[in-house]
């Protein structure tokens, strides 16, 4: 059985925010949930940026469960926006970027951004002294 890992934004309708949906996913559907960002308030719509991983079948069943609860699932395409043209290449963001999405070129001393490696941990947002990173919480 294949192992599957998916990053997605879960948008919870107002009524479901008080239900322990994440708990049920882990307990009943045996998937691993890594919460990368959360924006939830009681009684209002909420959204969760998660990485769901597990056996392919478990992930599929978990998705069906989410749909049955009217949770909108959107695969994440772009999570961090970087205003690179304004960057002064200090590179201080690179030491907090563990997935290696922000790397300094050792020769040219220029900063490179590899969005495909980004897990949207948001540490760069607070690390950049020019405030050039922004979280794009939406999905396509």
């Amino acid at each position: 059985m294949a192992f599957k890992k998916q990053r997605m934004v879960l948008q919870f309708p107002a009524g479901t925010v008080d239900e322990p949906i994440t708990y049920t996913l882990i307990k009943e559907y045996d998937v691993m949930i890594n919460i990368l960002n959360a924006d939830i308030s009681h009684g209002r719509e909420g959204s969760l940026l998660v990485e769901i991983s597990g056996e392919q079948e478990s992930v599929e069943v978990a998705r069906k469960y989410l749909k049955s609860k009217s949770v909108k699932i959107s695969p994440v395409v772009k999570t961090i926006l970087f205003e690179q043209a304004e960057c002064i290449n200090c590179g201080v963001c690179s030491s907090v970027c563990y997935p290696g999405a922000l790397e300094m070129d050792r020769e040219s001393r220029e900063l490179h951004f590899f969005p495909e490696k980004c897990v949207a941990c948001e540490l760069c947002i607070k690390a950049c002294p020019l405030q050039l990173f922004e979280l794009n919480f939406g999905a396509n």
């Binding site: 002064i88 290449n89 907090v96 050792r106 690390a127 002294p129």
Partner: protein, 381 residues
């Protein structure tokens, strides 16, 4: 081989001076002796582009009719210092907007340099000679009298590396420091850094002409917290933050490319300042100094997880610039607060200006004091 400032300037004027950047001369030093370097090279350009909190700008707004003796003033809502003459203001780079901690004096300075309009609001009690009590208007680079950058402490000679051994992330002026030594941040341009290329300040002193923020500036004094008593390593460079520079220049001719406002999370506003200093290779001894390489510059690793910032160990800039250091058998990702990329740009500009004969070297009017050490603030009754 000895050369005077005068002889080097004559060569610059005739377009015959050999000018290298500090990185180029460091590379040359691998297969050249100091006497060979002194023979071949006349000037070495050094540079730094880092966040330097002790910075600011004096402006004179011109007088309104009737005039006001400004006693409290803000620019775009950021308080500025009015405790000098009627319409002279000092914009402190780190002054915060009371409601927006990420915006402050450095942003105002950058905006004025960029030619943007800035809202001025000032209040006073009103006097017989300055009857106006309130004023609200906008100012920009073209409608004020002077804008002079005066930075009391810039271009630190070396600076420690910051790590955090605590269990929580620390947001500091050394950037975001991850818990359990998750990263290590440093802040100098290493072998390119001005005061590391002339550690005894034989050629750098009061009156030295420099590159400041995109134009010509001057070293006006030694910087605050000036310390010449720091421990030296075997290559004669201080292993701790030691000497500093006070610099001055015409901000109306500066460029926002070389003066940038910065905000460090939960710390506050600071300002990136671009400084370039030419060093004349007067003799073999100066040649040996400017040949210094990153691996020969030692710095201390301090724990910002502890308020006392205890020293945990030492490293050098070769290791730091490789992107990781190994400390206590642990690989730690490193990053610089200062931009080597920008510093190189400045060193190259200065090299070009000197090579073209448009930037002459100035011999210091007075040398910096020796044997200076620091006092700490004692709590006295």
């Amino acid at each position: 081989m000895k050369k005077s400032f005068q002889e080097i300037n004559d060569k610059i004027r005739s377009g015959k001076a050999v000018v290298l950047t500090a990185e180029e001369v460091a590379a040359m030093g691998k297969d050249h002796s100091p006497s060979q370097v002194a023979e071949k090279v006349d000037v070495v350009t050094t540079a730094t582009f880092g966040p330097m909190c002790s910075s600011g700008m004096i402006i004179n707004t011109g007088h309104s009719d009737p005039p006001i003796r400004m006693e409290r003033a803000t620019l775009n809502g950021v308080p500025v210092f009015t405790g000098i003459a009627a319409v002279d203001l000092y914009i402190g780079a780190t002054e915060n907007h009371p409601e927006n901690p990420a915006y402050g004096g450095a942003h105002i300075i950058e905006d004025l340099i960029a030619g943007k309009d800035v809202e001025l609001e000032a209040h006073a009690k009103g006097t017989d000679c300055y009857p106006r009590k309130d004023i609200k208007t906008s100012i920009n680079r073209n409608n004020i009298n002077e804008m002079v950058m005066f930075n009391p402490r810039n271009a630190y000679q070396n600076y420690p590396v910051a790590v955090n051994t605590s269990k929580r992330i620390k947001y500091t002026y050394m950037g975001s420091l991850l818990p359990r030594m998750g990263n290590a941040n440093y802040s100098t341009s290493g072998e390119l850094s001005p005061l590391l290329n002339d550690p005894e300040m034989r050629t750098i002193g009061m009156g030295t002409r420099i590159f400041l923020g995109g134009t010509t500036g001057y070293i006006s004094w030694y910087g605050t917290q000036f310390n010449t008593s720091a421990e030296l390593n075997e290559h004669g460079v201080p292993v701790a933050n030691a000497a500093t520079l006070a610099v001055i220049g015409d901000a109306s001719k500066m460029s926002p490319e070389f003066i940038k406002a910065a905000y460090y999370e939960k710390y506050g506003v600071s300002m990136f300042v671009g400084i370039g200093i030419p060093i004349p290779v007067l003799d073999e001894e100066m040649a040996a100094r400017v040949m210094i390489r990153n691996e020969q510059i030692t710095t201390r690793i301090l724990d910002y997880g502890d308020p006392a910032h205890p020293e945990l160990g030492r490293t050098n800039y070769e290791e730091l610039m490789s992107g990781e250091i190994i400390f206590n058998k642990k690989k730690i990702k490193t990053a610089s607060l200062s931009s080597i990329y920008q510093a190189r740009k400045i060193a190259d500009i200065l090299k070009r200006q000197i090579s073209e004969g448009t930037f002459l070297l100035s011999e210091p009017v007075e040398m910096f004091p020796r044997g200076k050490s620091l006092n700490s603030l004692k709590i006295r009754k």
